[in-house]
Amino acid sequence: MTNPFDDLERSDCLLVVGSNATVAHPMVGMRLLRRKRAGGFLIVADPRRTTLAEQADIHLRLRPGTDVPLFNGLMRIIHDNGWHNREFIETRTENFPALLDAIAPWTPEATEAATGVPRDLLFRAAEAYAVSAASSIVYCLGVTQHRCGVNNVRVLADLAMLCGQIGRPGTGVNPLRGQNNVQGSCDMGGLPDYYPGYQKADDPAVREAFARAWGCPQPSTPGLTSLEMMEALHKGTLKAMIILGENPVVSDPDANHVRQALSKAEFLLCIDIFPTPTTELAHLTLPGASFAESEGTFTNSERRVQRVRQALPPLAGRSNSRVIQELSTRMGYPMPPDSPAAVFDEICALTPLLRGMSHERLDRESLCWPCPDKNHPGAPMLHADRFTRGKGLFAGLAHVPPAELPDAEYPLLLNTGMGHSQYLTGTMTRRCPMLEREMPHLEVDMHPDDARALGLRNGARARLSSRRGAVAARVHITDAVPAGTVFAPLHFAEAPVNLLTSAERDPVSKTPEFKICAVRVEKV
C-alpha cells in the first residue's frame, strides 16, 4: 500500500476495485464502512454486489475482465471535462501523451458497450474521484488475478497520477495483501529474481555483495517462479522440491496438472503443520511450528513490521528456523543456530529498507518500511515528493480480453474467491468448529435466471465442470452475482474449485487468471 489503513478514514472519496474487504480484510472493510457512514463517498467497482457494493454511492458493475476499458473510459471523461491535475502531471510524471493515445478510443459510448456500466454512473464516478480533495484507490485480487493483471494495476496508477491523487494523506493506490506475511516473503527475497529488499538477482554487483556477506559464491542462472517449477517437473528438468507451508495442490490453478507435476518429483520434502493434499504426495514431511510457537516478525499490507512472539514451545520440538539451519549445515553450508533476533539483525544489515529496525525496537513500536536508520520513524506513506523511479510513468494501456470466455459448451463464467468464515485452502479454518459450521461445504452462487433455466432450486446438488475438471457443489441462488456468471469459494479440498480454473497467466507477474474461466453447471 502507498498509504496506511488509517488514511482510508481521511479520504473524501474511496474507490474500491475487485476487493470484498468486509469478508477478506475485515479491518479494512470496517474502516471503509465507517468512513462511508461519516460522509465519505464510496465507489465500488465489482461484477458482484458485495456488502460494500450494497453500501456504495455508486456501484460500477463491470463485466468481468473489462477493468482497462472501464478506467480508460473514466480517464477520458476526466480529461475531456478538465478535471485532471495539470500541475501534478507537469511536475511529477512523464509519458502523458501515451496516456492520451490510450484513452482516446474509450468514449463514454464505447466504455458503456464494453463494460456494461451505464454512462451516467461513469460520469458521476469520474467526477467524484477526480475532484474530491483526497481520493483513495483500494484494490485486491479481483484486479490482479487476470491474464492482464499487471495492466489492471497500471491503469489504476495512471488514474491516480492523472488526478494527482497520490502522495498525500487519504490518497494513494492501495493493494490489500491476502496473507499475514506475503509482503514479508517478498521483502525477504523469497522470489527468484530478488535478494532481500528487492535487490536484483540479475545484477552482478548485488550478487557479489551477497556472496561476500554470506561467504558463498552466488548462482548466476535465473530462477524459476512457482508455476514454472511445476512445468519443469513435468518436463523432467526439476527433480526435487521443498515446500514450506504451502498447499499448491489446492491453491494453484489447474490442480490436476499440479498434482501430476509433484508426483513426478524424485524427492518432495514438505514442511507443514497439518497433513494436506500436497503433503500426501511428499516423500518426507516434517512437522512445522505454527505462528503461536514461533518467534519473529510478520509484515502486513501497510509494510508494517510487527513482532510475532512465541506463546508455546514448538509442538514437534523444533522451530522452523532451526529445521532450516540444521538442514543447511547438513548440506555443507553451515548455518549456526542463531536466534530469530540475531537473524533479523542480519536481515537489517543487508536490507537498506529495514536497516533501522531490530526486534528490540519493534518490541516498543511497529514500524513501516522504508526505515533506513535507527532514528527513522518509518514511512507509512510513500511517494510524497517523488516516485521510486523519479517521475511517475504513465503506461497508457490497451484492452486484453480474458483468455477463456463462456461458449456454447461451457456457457457460464466462473469467478472464484473467499467466503466469510473460511480462509484459502481451509487447512486452518476448517479445523475451527465455529468457522466450519458457518460454511461446511462448497456452495456456488448462481443468478436466479440461470438457476431457473437449468431447473435448479436453492440448495440443489449440482456438478460444476470446465475443460480441466469437475467438482460437486450445492447451488446458492442469489442476484449478487450477475446473470451468466457463477461464484465459487476455493476453500474445500474435497471439492477443489481449482480443478476447474485456467492456468492462463499474466506474462509479467505470472499470476493466473483465477477470476475468469468457462464452466457449465448440471443438475445431478
Partner: protein
C-alpha cells in the same frame, strides 16, 4: 494455574491484527484482541477470535513422516534431517543445483523466509525460490 498472555500477530490475512494468546499448562485458552494494536485497536474478525482451535487441533503433525511405497512411517528428527540432506545432495550432484526448487511461505515469519532463501542460494546454489505471492 499460571496464566500467561503473549501479544502476537494474527496468522490469517494481510491486515496484521494484534492478538494476544492466553496460555496455561501448555495450551492456548483463547485468543483476544490486543487493545492498543494499531491495525485493530481491540477488535478481531471471526477467524481471529477462533485461532486457538487450529493451533492445538489433534490433526497437527508431530513427527517427521517418511512415505515408502504406500506405507508411511514416523522418523525421529535426526534421521529425517539426515535423509533429507542425503536426497538433496544426491539430486544436486546428479543433475545440478537448478534441478531443485523451493517454495517458501507467506504464512511464515520474515526470519524463516530469509533463512530459506539463503538456504536456496547458498546450501543448494539456485535462485529457484518462490512463494504464493503471484497467486
Amino acid at each position: 494455574m499460571d496464566i500467561r498472555h503473549t501479544p502476537t500477530v494474527c496468522p490469517y490475512c494481510g491486515c496484521g491484527c494484534g492478538l494476544t494468546l492466553e496460555t496455561a499448562e501448555g495450551r492456548v485458552l483463547r485468543a483476544i484482541p490486543t487493545a492498543d494494536a494499531p491495525v485493530n485497536r481491540g477488535r478481531l474478525c471471526v477467524k481471529g477470535w477462533n485461532v486457538h482451535d487450529f493451533v492445538q487441533h489433534p490433526d497437527r503433525l508431530t513427527r517427521p513422516l517418511l512415505r515408502e511405497d504406500r506405507e508411511t512411517r514416523p522418523l525421529d528428527w535426526e534421521s529425517a534431517l539426515d535423509l533429507a540432506a542425503r536426497e538433496l545432495h544426491r539430486i544436486r550432484d546428479a543433475y545440478g543445483p537448478d534441478s531443485i526448487g523451493i517454495l517458501t511461505s507467506a504464512r511464515c515469519t520474515n526470519e524463516e523466509n530469509y533463512l530459506l532463501q539463503k538456504f536456496a542460494r547458498c546450501a543448494v546454489g539456485t535462485h529457484n525460490i518462490d512463494h504464493c505471492a503471484r497467486l
